[in-house]
């Protein structure tokens, strides 16, 4: 209520650079996506819809661009002069990058989007007033707004379909922003279980829905602080560091052996998702 209370709360939710003043301990959730393994099958996207109660908005609203796919698989056509059946393309699975210095967090007028201690960019649906400033300032445009009241929409969730909703995830009403949470409900459950047993969450104990569904294991997810985790090993092997805005791959001369990079790093949002460049003839 007082000003001192305001200032204390302030210090709790705001900090300067990724992990200089508040090191992530014992968790920092991160991801690595191998684009060479990705076949563009969209299983991750479907799994995400099922896990997170994401509304399927229908043809008409999709055409208006009002779709809600937290996890989207983008397709980039090769521009090497070849025509359609022969033309190659690459896939890029894209979801909230859980930036350490997230552009969306600073602009929200009601502080509905915040940083958690384990390095997630959280969205508080109850607090959101729907100004959509976060999405306007997101470089990746991975935030999705509830343009309509989907939970009450018979077209989106017919009564019989409601039985298949995930009880661990709240449905979002109209007028709030939502986005990928790294399946925070699974993370919380695993953390609670581990805490009860007096340990920290072990590698492999928790998976995100997209990771679980990926047939080629292109997505790995885990605790970046834990040196035994697959994610940590991948990041280390690619010499990608969380708090750098230029990675070893970009520093080196051409024909680098390294494949790890993060998207739009030069904006200094410090994303938590590392991508592994596709290895292909044209690129080698």
């Amino acid at each position: 209520m007082s000003v001192s209370n305001l200032l204390e709360n302030w210090a709790q939710v705001r900090h300067e650079h990724p992990n200089n003043d508040k090191p992530h301990d014992p968790y920092k959730w991160a991801m690595a996506i191998d684009l060479d393994a990705c076949t563009g099958c969209n299983a991750c996207s479907i799994a995400c819809y099922a896990e997170n109660n994401i509304p399927v908005v229908g043809k008409e609203r999709f055409q208006h661009g009002q779709q809600m796919h937290w996890m989207r698989v983008e397709r980039y056509w090769d521009e090497d002069g070849r025509e359609f059946p022969d033309q190659g393309f690459q896939f890029l699975p894209m979801m909230c990058q859980q930036c350490e210095a997230a552009p969306c967090e600073t602009v929200c007028p009601v502080a509905a989007t915040n940083h958690t201690a384990d390095g997630l960019n959280s969205q508080i649906y109850n607090r959101c007033i729907g100004s959509r400033y976060c999405s306007a300032n997101c470089p990746f445009k991975v935030r999705y707004f509830n343009w309509y009241d989907y939970p009450t929409d018979e077209m989106v969730w017919p009564a019989e379909m409601q039985q298949q909703m995930n009880p661990d995830v709240s449905v979002r009403s109209k007028g709030v922003m939502e986005k990928c949470t790294f399946c925070v409900q699974r993370l919380s459950a695993a953390k609670v279980k581990a805490k009860g047993e007096g340990r920290i969450v072990a590698e492999g104990e928790v998976q995100t829905a997209c990771q679980q569904a990926c047939p080629t294991s292109a997505i790995s997810f885990g605790n970046l602080v834990n040196p035994d985790s697959r994610v940590h090993k991948q990041w280390a092997a690619q010499q990608v560091e969380l708090d750098k805005d230029k990675q070893a791959k970009n520093e080196e001369e051409e024909a680098s052996e390294l494949r790890g990079y993060r998207i739009l790093e030069e904006l200094r949002a410090y994303p938590s998702v590392m991508y592994l460049e596709r290895v292909r003839e044209s690129a080698v």
């Binding site: 709360n9 007028p109 607090r127 445009k141």
Partner: protein, 454 residues
């Protein structure tokens, strides 16, 4: 050419202005009805949108901001010229502002009220609007003071409340005149209440002058800050096309520009509707036209600065957005903005158009069209050509509901303005008297000087 005749009797001034408060002409009722209908249409749109969801605006997932934000900036901008005329020109002792500043100040207040509506209309959960207010609560939850949107809300609220105060304080002597000239009735009761027992004693005048000057001084930095902060909504973000250092002065210049154009429009309408030819004279109109021309050129210059800065910055994304504006989907609107904002005002450079009322009326409307397009061209193109390639193939066109809301805002503004003009004197009587008095003094002085020379 003189701004006002020196031989107008003071009683005639009272009589002429008080006449504008009575017996509306038929045209007045027609305008009022049309405004009410337009506003009613907007209310219908808002009810529909409130019940259905923001999707009816036809905005989509990368393009989350649309016409509402653009029109919001437009109305905020419109509010600036009132302060320019009433406060800045007051400090500069520009006598010619006196017959026209009252309606300009009213315009400021009403356009701010219109802009405020667009904030409400824009947010997804209007029913939780109070979350953005820093009210004390047991949970210790505060709004995010880092967000330019929050600064915005505060700046607008401060500016609106100060503008209302300024409008009211400046009106006190006139309200007393109205009180003394009215038949008993609700109007007389209202004026008696608002005149705060004004008797025109020396002490009252002295206090009045000091108060008025103080508020004027307080209002000027507010006017500059409020649109700078609206500019910060964009300049503080990271997006190409928005993250521009020169945005705050650019926005302020644009604001003064559209405000001055609106003053020309309303000047011509009031002059005709209320037969204020004696007070709203052509030489005064000429002065506003010249002022508008100067501001138009400042705006054009700042535009050029922005384009040059983007062009030579080596910031590929910003450059792409600029090229997209000039050649992409939005090109007709973008070039329309350049034409209406930078080419059309050149008409003002010709002396014979500076007092040509039909031409000025058309041009002033075109200028504001250009300024509205400017705001839309700031908001929309960044969304369809930002950093991320996925957004590039997304097209967006506002729905009828969105256009209806924009249309309705003009109705709401006109409604407020027309009611104001019938309830309060829209020409400042006491200041016009001052102006006439200054004019006589000036004449006497030059007569004396002439006699001395002989």
């Amino acid at each position: 050419m003189k701004d006002i005749r020196e031989d107008i009797a003071w009683a005639k001034i009272n009589q002429d202005v008080m006449k504008s408060l009575e017996n509306p002409r038929k045209l007045y009722w027609v305008i009022l009805f049309l405004a009410l209908a337009a506003f009613g249409f907007g209310v219908g749109c808002e009810i529909y949108q409130y019940r259905t969801g923001m999707g009816v605006e036809n905005v989509n997932n990368p393009q989350v901001w649309g016409l509402y934000i653009a029109t919001f900036i437009f109305w905020i901008g419109m509010s600036h010229s009132g302060t320019l005329l009433s406060a800045i020109l007051h400090l500069m002792h520009a006598d010619w502002r006196k017959p026209i500043y009252r309606f300009a100040e009213a315009m400021t207040t009403f356009s701010l009220m219109t802009a405020g509506l667009f904030v409400m209309v824009h947010i997804g959960r209007l029913w939780q609007f109070y979350y953005s207010l820093p009210y004390p609560n047991d949970r210790g939850i505060w709004p995010n003071f880092q967000s330019p949107l929050l600064w915005d809300a505060m700046a607008i609220f401060t500016y609106l409340s100060s503008s209302v105060l300024f409008l009211f304080v400046g009106m006190i002597p006139d309200l007393a005149i109205a009180r003394d000239n009215m038949q008993p009735g609700w109007r007389q009761k209202l004026y008696t209440l608002l005149a705060l027992g004004w008797e025109g004693t020396d002490r009252q005048w002295r206090n009045f002058r000091v108060t008025y000057l103080t508020i004027a001084c307080f209002l000027i930095p507010l006017a500059v800050s409020v649109h700078s902060i609206v500019a910060s909504d964009f300049a503080m973000s990271q997006q190409p096309g928005w993250h521009v250092t020169s945005f705050p002065p650019y926005f302020v210049a644009g604001a003064l520009y559209s405000g001055c154009a609106a003053i020309i429009t309303l000047f011509i309408i009031l002059r005709y509707v209320f037969r204020f030819e004696t007070y709203m004279t052509l030489p005064i109109l000429k002065k506003i036209v010249r002022l508008t021309f100067a501001i138009a050129m400042v705006w054009t210059y700042l535009n050029a600065v922005e384009f040059a800065a983007v062009w030579y910055s080596h910031d590929e994304a910003s450059k792409a957005v600029l090229i997209q504006k000039m050649t992409g989907t939005y090109a007709p609107f973008w070039w329309g903005m350049i034409f209406c904002g930078s080419v059309v005002p050149l008409v003002f450079a010709f002396k014979r158009f500076q007092t040509n009322i039909p031409v000025l009326f058309a041009v002033s409307l075109l200028l504001n069209l250009g300024m509205w397009l400017e705001r839309w061209m700031i908001v929309a193109p960044t969304f369809s050509h930002g950093y991320y390639p996925w957004t590039w193939d997304h097209e967006q066109w506002p729905s009828l509901v969105a256009w209806g809301m924009v249309f309705a805002s003009f109705g709401w503004f006109t409604l407020l303005f027309m009611i104001f003009c019938k309830v309060f004197p829209s020409v400042s009587m006491y200041e016009v008297k001052e102006m006439v008095y200054h004019r006589t003094l000036h004449l006497k002085k030059s007569e004396n000087a002439e006699q001395g020379a002989h």
